[in-house]
Amino acid sequence: MTKKYLLLGSMFIAVVAAVVGVAVALQTPPAPPQAAPGFSKRARPHFDHAPVTPAKFDGPQAVTRSCLGCHPDAAHVMKTSHWQWLGEEVVVPGHEGKTRIGKKNLLNNFCLVNRGNEKTCTKCHIGYGWADDSFDFKNPENVDCLVCHEKTGTYVKGMYGIPTKESDLVAAAKSVGTPQRENCLGCHAFGGGGQGVKHGDIDSSLAHPFDEEDVHMGRHGFLCVDCHKAPDHQIKGRAFSVGVEDSNGVACSDCHDGHKHTDARVDTHVKSVACQTCHIPEFAGQLPTKAWWDWSKAGDAARKEDPHGYLKIKGEFTYQQDAVPEYRWFNGTVGRYLLGDKIDPNKVTVLNPPLGGIDDPKAKIWPFKIHRGKQPYDAGFNYLFPPVTGGKGGYWTTFDWDSAFRLGSEASKIPYSGKYGFAPTEMYWPLSHMVSTKENALACTDCHGEKSRMDWKALGYAADPIKTGGRP
């Protein structure tokens, strides 16, 4: 009897509960947005190195010796391109066979070349004392651990990468930990010889950006190493200035995998338009970046110097700020100009042309900073030339191009015909940093319609694809 009571009573309560549950469920507000699916909050270890740091170091290599005492595996960084300034063997499009390319042996249209100019260039090498080919790349003690790991902000690398006398090695060693943004920016923001010169989307404003300047590093407090993960010091990501592919690269989809936009129409763009195109509406917002560098104007003592306009040692340049990117098809690989490749000095030589076109299914429209300029070339052999500029006895000392060419010919082991000139070149820098907030992403009218930032014909479309349709 009681059991029946209980059974029926509980059935009744169940029904009532169901009714109430349905009513409540129909009113529950939707769940708040989750973090991107691939994102996992990383725990950053906090180990105070002060107790284990010696009281005195007799040189920078002594610091590294001390680090290696507990972190022997850290020496694996020597396998990476951060140390060697060379990548793995690759086939460079347009060339035969496999070669290893990197900052060590490539030309750019900024400070031109590393070889011969190690005095100034290796200030940003993660090693101590790379002056010439005699540098011992196999000695682990030559690795500079502090530049990436120290957190006092007072550690400064001088010529040949050797820390200045003012740098307090002990204080730096005590402060080591996870690399902060300032560590990476200390070199990467000053590429090309000054603040924000090279990349356009990397400069010191990324240390403490506003949300709109960079949503990851601003609003969400990301460190560089959160995306550029470094398992066993193999840091993910390789710039397309020194590499031709990104098999070890970073992609938005590493965290934002399979993301669906609120407006379904935007999802139809994803197969032809890179995330960066819409989400990086402009670059060099806070600090300007170099857009044009004309080496041929260098050496004029009478001209007034101005770091944003003209320097006797470097030539004439222009800067751009709040810049609108230029858009090209890009399938993730670039061609690369290698030393010795012939050029036509009357045409613009693109040092790293992005490959892919409208018919390439792997290609998408990417935003680029294009750096244009005029750089030295050998007028007899018709190839771009690596002169010695900042190195010993180079152009910055003598202001004599011919002498700079001769020295460069020795340093890079490339013949010099005796005649020099200046040829127009371009370098393409695909943008991935300075991702703005989603409210600031490009809207329909930014690309479609009358005042468009896209040159449809140049991209291979017949006309605005909103009218004629996109590629199949």
């Binding site: 009571y5 009744f12 349905v22 009513a23 129909l26 009113q27 409210e439 009218t445 319609g449």
Partner: protein
């Protein structure tokens, strides 16, 4: 076209060219042509050029003039204004070639851009600069330059986000949606307002033959370019959008889409300044007509760009839409007042009115003396009106002195349907209680005008497509307010949760209250008498199995469903407003339990018929009245004295009162409630049913009345259950199925009704 009008147009387009500029690109295939004057001679300046003669050399100007809505006096638009970049043809000697023809770079002619339409129709911006109201926004009225989109509808056509504009909007930080989502998606004016015979847009003749869905025969492009029919189409949203493909959250989607215009929800809360009255009978110190806005709060010293703008609350009326269907649609009523010369009915030119009000760049001193009531030295916004006969006569006298024949104030009431400035779907109205509540947008009073210049009410123009239903009554302050039926809706629609039949509710509530009071009194008396008597335990006899498992299941299912239906029904009706359910939730649960109840009822009917248990419900005529009387006497008297319950007739489980009640309940009330409820649901799902039964305003009150009766029955039933041996005795027996039997009685007792 007169010189003055042309000059005015040039001036206006120049002034408006600022915020509305857009680059009409060079037209690569337009033939070279030389600008001609009215006589057909080549000219070299824009002022001498005559569009009819110039453009008419190839495009049939006479045909266009005869087939256009943009004609004087309503509009003085010319070819140039709509089809040329910037609204003016820049003819300078350097733009002409040796033969006097315009060079290719200067031929920026093509289909009208939004900026061209915006010169007259309202604030249109390409979004490249921050949206702001130009200084000419409150300028003097010119032919066709009515700002009808902005001042009339409160719409600003711009792709920019509202939060990026320079206007002072209420809640601006959260307004991340664009002013106009169509502008943001590059759907421009001509996408909906295209030329009537455009071969690209029209589907030719349709529907003439039943086996033909489309007729491909139509004019060629060339024929269209020579004779374009400028009677522009007026598309409804449904020409491109299928509302049934979205709105899954909306209960009774079909019904909503049938009776409501899309704009009711999608154009709610427009943030542009919408006019309430354009009073050209009064002139401000700056020389503009006095304009009052519905949703703009102007503090002292505010310009239009600093005044606070709030979301516009439109008037919901019945309107015939462009697809011919009559629907409830939002409109903004604008009263337009002007001085008219009664002699010939012509308008008094605004410059003349301005001269009557102003002198040397400010109001004339005599005018200030007349209108400045608070002696502040200036005429404030509240003082700048002809709200007394003395003031009207004063101004009329001044106009007569300027040579106007018999000036009189005339007002026109324009209803501007809201169709532009539609924002993204997250700005659409999602709050059911905006209409489905006692205070409903469909029944609110609406202030037509805060005051009536010259004391004359505004009249709708001829051929108005809007039906204003309600009572136009004077408001405080000498204005006009539209009072509407508080319990009704436009078009006689029955709106669940809002529409109510007053007497049904009153009587139903009275009945419920009466029964509730009755049972409280009855119960109190029983308790009081019982205490006096002292506790006398009835002898506990045997138990008899009277309620089978199915019967109990059926009863409790009915009970739960009934309670759920009453509770959710009250929630839908809105009167109780328990507030723990949203309207869609209440409707969904109500429908679910309605289905459960109907299924349960039919199964029970089948069961009772199949097992002949129905015999219990059929009253036995022999001795029926006597038995009934006996029961009634017991309830009225015997129960208080602890008498035992009268016995049922032999073989009968239910007493006569129960049988009577159930007869009415099961054969009248239940079917009525089920049928009316099903009709209400059917109207939501198949709106054509509404037309067949003439709307819900008779069906719904019946359903409501039935609900009150059910509620009353429920109260009585629950109470009478407590009249057993102990108050919970009968309840237990409906759960367990067993009933106590008195030892000295032969026949079992039935349960209480």
């Amino acid at each position: 076209m007169t010189r003055l009008a042309a000059a005015l147009l040039v001036l206006l387009s120049l002034a408006a060219a600022g915020p509305a500029s857009s680059q009409q690109p060079v037209n690569p295939i337009h033939p070279f042509f030389a600008p001609l004057d009215a006589a057909g001679k080549k000219v070299r300046t824009a002022e001498e050029m005559n569009p009819e003669k110039t453009c008419g050399a190839c495009h049939d100007a006479a045909y266009i003039a005869a087939h256009t809505d943009h004609r004087p006096p309503k509009s003085a638009a010319t070819c140039i204004q709509c089809h040329v970049d910037g609204g003016r043809l820049d003819i300078r000697p350097e733009r002409l070639d040796a033969e006097g023809k315009l060079r290719r770079e200067s031929i920026r002619i093509g289909t009208p851009r939004a900026a061209n339409c915006g010169v007259c129709h309202g604030l249109v911006s390409d979004g490249k600069s921050h949206v702001s109201l130009p200084p000419t926004f409150e300028g003097s009225p010119a032919p066709g330059h009515t700002w009808s989109l902005t001042q009339g509808e409160g719409a600003i056509v711009a792709p920019q986000r509202m939060t990026d504009s320079f206007l002072d909007l209420e809640g601006k930080e959260s307004l991340a949606a664009p002013w106009d989502v169509h502008a943001a998606k590059l759907v421009d004016c001509i996408a909906c307002h295209y030329a009537a015979n455009s071969p690209a847009r029209t589907d030719g003749k349709k529907g003439a033959l039943r086996y033909l869905t489309a007729d491909p025969r139509r004019q060629t492009q060339a024929e269209f370019l020579v004779r374009p029919d400028h009677r522009l189409a007026e598309q409804d949203c449904r020409a491109c959008h299928d509302p049934m493909k979205a709105h899954a959250f909306l209960p009774y989607r079909e019904r909503h889409m049938q009776v409501l215009s899309c704009a009711v929800c999608h154009a709610s809360g427009l943030m542009g300044p919408a006019a309430e009255m354009v009073d050209a009978t009064a002139v401000t110190a700056a020389g503009n007509p006095a304009v009052r806005y519905r949703n703009v709060e102007r503090r002292a010293g505010d310009t239009m760009n600093t005044a606070r703008i709030r979301p516009l609350k439109p008037l919901l009326v019945e309107r015939v839409e462009s697809d011919g269907v009559r629907r409830v649609a939002p409109v903004n009523l604008v009263s337009r007042y002007r001085w008219v010369s009664r002699l010939d009915g012509t308008d008094v030119p605004f410059e003349t009115v301005a001269r009557a009000w102003r002198e040397a760049g400010d109001h004339a001193p005599e005018v200030v003396a007349m209108f400045d009531a608070d002696r502040s030295g200036r005429i404030d916004e509240a003082e700048l009106r002809l709200d007394t006969p003395q003031k009207t006569e004063f101004m009329a006298a001044r106009l007569r002195a300027l040579g106007v024949n018999d000036p009189v104030v005339v007002g026109q009431l324009d209803a501007h349907p809201l169709a532009h400035g539609i924002s993204t779907r997250d700005r659409a109205l999602r709050d059911c209680t905006a209409c489905h509540a006692e205070e409903s947008r469909l029944a609110d009073d609406y202030l037509v005008a805060a005051y009536l210049p010259g004391g004359s009410p505004p009249r709708p123009p001829d051929g108005a497509r809007v039906a204003l239903s309600g009572l136009l009554a004077p408001s405080d302050g000498g204005g006009l307010v539209l009072q509407r039926d508080r319990d009704g809706a436009p078009g006689g629609l029955h709106v669940l949760g809002h529409s109510r039949q007053a007497w049904t509710n009153r009587l139903g509530f009275v009945a419920f209250l009466a029964v509730l009071l009755g049972v409280i009194v009855h119960g109190a008396l029983r308790y009081a008498f019982g205490r006096k008597r002292g506790r006398v335990a009835h002898p506990v006899g045997e138990k008899e199995y009277v309620f089978g498992r199915y019967e109990r299941l059926w009863h409790w299912t009915m009970a739960v469903s009934g309670i759920a239906l009453i509770v959710t029904g009250l929630e839908v009706h809105g009167a109780a407003g328990f507030g723990f359910m949203t309207l869609p939730a209440a409707v969904a649960i109500h429908n679910t339990f309605a289905v459960i109840l109907i299924v349960n009822a039919f199964l029970a009917l089948f069961y009772h018929l199949a097992t002949a248990a129905i015999r219990n419900f059929i009253p036995h005529p022999k001795g029926f009245m006597a038995n009934a009387l006996e029961h009634m006497t017991y309830q009225a008297r015997g129960i208080f004295y602890g008498e035992s319950h009268p016995r049922n007739a032999a073989g009968q489980k239910l007493n006569p009162l129960q049988q009577l009640t159930y007869l009415a309940l099961l054969n009248v009330l239940f079917p009525l409630q089920i049928v009316t409820g099903a009709l209400i649901w059917a109207v939501g799902k198949w709106p054509a049913v509404a037309n067949a039964i003439g709307g819900l305003h008779h069906v719904a009150p019946v359903h409501n009345a039935g609900a009150w009766l059910f509620l009353t029955f429920f109260v009585l039933h629950v109470y009478l259950v407590s009249t057993g041996r102990t108050p919970t005795d009968h309840l237990k027996s409906m759960i367990t199925g067993y009933q106590h039997v008195d030892t000295d009685e032969a026949a079992p007792e039935g349960a209480e009704p």
